[in-house]
Structures are given as C-alpha cells and as structure tokens.
Symmetry: C2
Subunit: 216 residues, 2 copies
Amino acid sequence: MNGDKLRSVSEKTINRLSLYRRLLENRFGKGHEHVFSHELAELACVTPAQVRRDLMCVDNSGSTSRGYSVQELVREITAVLDAPGGQRIALVGVGNLGRAILSYFSGRRPGIAITAAFDSDPSLAGRVINGCRCHPMSELSEVLRGSEIGAAIVAVPASAAQDIADRLVAAGVRGILNFAPVPLKVPEGVFLEHRDMTMSLETVAFFARRSLGDAE
Amino acid sequence: MNGDKLRSVSEKTINRLSLYRRLLENRFGKGHEHVFSHELAELACVTPAQVRRDLMCVDNSGSTSRGYSVQELVREITAVLDAPGGQRIALVGVGNLGRAILSYFSGRRPGIAITAAFDSDPSLAGRVINGCRCHPMSELSEVLRGSEIGAAIVAVPASAAQDIADRLVAAGVRGILNFAPVPLKVPEGVFLEHRDMTMSLETVAFFARRSLGDAE
C-alpha cells in the first residue's frame, strides 16, 4: 500500500480508479502515450477535476502540457489496487449466478483470481469450473484457513447468506461482495458491498415508468 | 403513480422500498400482522427514522402502539413500485451473464418480467430461455416498438454497449440497467444504473487487503 494517502481513501475513489485503469487499457492502449484529465473524464462520465483529485492518491503528477503518461498511470493505479502477487478470492454458491460470475472473471483481471468455490450441492465437489475448484460447503473454514484468500463473493439464496457471511468472517475474510438478495451484518473492519439485483431492476423499472409517464 | 410525493422521490428511497417489501414478504409473511419501524430497520440495516421517512411516501400512517400492518404496507409499496399490469423488461446480451440474469429473475418478482431477449449469435434466435424469447439483434427496434417494454438490461461486452444503449433509447426505452464494464451516455430523462462487477470486486479486494494489513 501507498502509505498515508491511502489510509483515508474513499470507496468511490477506489471505484473510479478501477474504472480509469480499464479505460486506459482499452481506449488508450495503442498509439496513445499520453492522456489529458479531460479525455479520461469524458470516457468515465465524471469531471476533469474529479479525475485530477482521484489521481492525486496514485502519486502521479502528470504534466500540464502533455497530460499523464498512459503506461505510467496504469502501473501506478495497479500498484494501489492490486496485491503484489495477485489476490485470491473465494466464491460461495455455484448456482446459475455463481457460474456466471466464475465465467465472467475467468482471466478478466490479471490481479484477481477466484481460486476456491463452495456449494452445498455434493455433486459439485471436486469439479473444476473455469479453472476454479469446487469444494463442499463443510470444508469452507478448512480451505480458507490454509489459503491466502482474504475476500469472498456470496451468491447463495437469501436464507443461507448470513450464516455464510459469519463463517467467512470467522475464517479470516475481510471483504465480501454480496449478491444474495438480503442485507448482511458483518463486524467493523470487514468491508461489505451489497449488489442486490432485484433492487437494481425494480429501481430502473420505477424510474423508466415515471419518465414514460412524464413524457405522455 | 402516487402523485406529487413521488415526483421528487430519490433513487435511494426506491432502493430501500424494494428491500423493505422483500423483507416484509419473507420475514414477516406468516404470523406477523404488524411490524414496528425499528424491527424493519434492524433487518434492513438502516435507522428506524430512515424507515419512517421512506414510508411517508407510501401513504401509510402506521400506529405508534401496534406499528404498521404488514399486509397493508406490502400492498402500498407495491402500488408505488409496480406498474398496474406488471412491467416488461428487455435483455440485451444472452451470454453467461445474460442467461444467469434470465434464470435469476424468472418468476422472482410478480411485477416484473423479462419478455424479450436479444443477441448477436444467430443460433439463439427463436429459442426460449426461462420463458423468454430470444430475437436477433437486428430486430431490436422492431420488437421494442411493438411492445410495452420501457426498461432494459444490458449484458453485452464493453465494445458493443454504447451502440446498444443508443438503439434502446431510440426505441423508447427510458431505464437501463447496465452490466457492461463501461460507462454509458444516455440523454436526460433516461434513468441509468451501472452495475460494474469488476469495479465492485476490485473495490472489495482493495479494502479487504487494507483491513488485513491494518490487523497485522
């Protein structure tokens, strides 16, 4: 980690650094050696001032005449976001959503790998899906304790989610990405992000309908 | 819609109403006729004052001695969130993530149905997946214009996402739930929610690592 500046960095800044890095890799990969904050801002749908504030925490000073070096910026964001040897993640719940998550992240980011999956369906035990081995749910604590896994994705039904979260935290997990349709309680010091797909879709449906109503 | 109170309702309030309704249905379904704001707040991981503020826009006064009627509250939230005859949604992109989304939402909410899917893979055309018919991408405008679909889910690769969003908006869609790993630009009046899974996972991984570093 990059010292004191990162101690107080916000979730939203980390969100945007993740986005900036992908935009830099995909949009400026070839033939672009430098990028101005307003160019990156345009792609990321934020203001140039926001880009400059966010990049202050990656130690890149940039240059007013030429902008930021794309390669340097990607390297510096990577130094903030990624663990030096890569980060291992667990997945709990290998149903439709869990499998889509395994497939989606397979090889997507060099710094992140889902290296262990768990499911209560005994027929999945021992199978390897998208390069990730599935374990019985009963082995969760044992597998995690012997690993370097510090973060996990929860993709189980609502009724099982809190129990799984408690077991993950007890096994040393300090970050949970929750796709189960229920809020989870975790102790202080454990980072929790809830991605409730039903909530997202109902909200989009509501505002679409209101907008259509307004237009009539 | 419920008149003036809903004109200025925030995205976060709609998010929470969606959550409250599911908690009421699942946790208070049987044997619970009434619920106090502090009970709902505890499950939703918000403050009781927040619950009371949110519920002010559903016309439910509640009672200080008995709390809210569960059945009445569910009915009133439904009157806010759901279209009277149900709401039809399109899905663009029937890859792994798109299929997981179809499976996840199949029968999950009575007020919402994904009724048309689109993909550039010609072998999917005409297939019915989880009750939803797949169409060729070339028929997107035609199918949407003849439908009552006002909202859509985008689950295509980053490179295709903006073009798809433009076509959806041109065909009358006013709400987009974007799972593509790139920000989209839409005209004013179109509601856009971006669910960037890479961003979510990189953020969880970052804070998990920081928390583990802090603990050492």
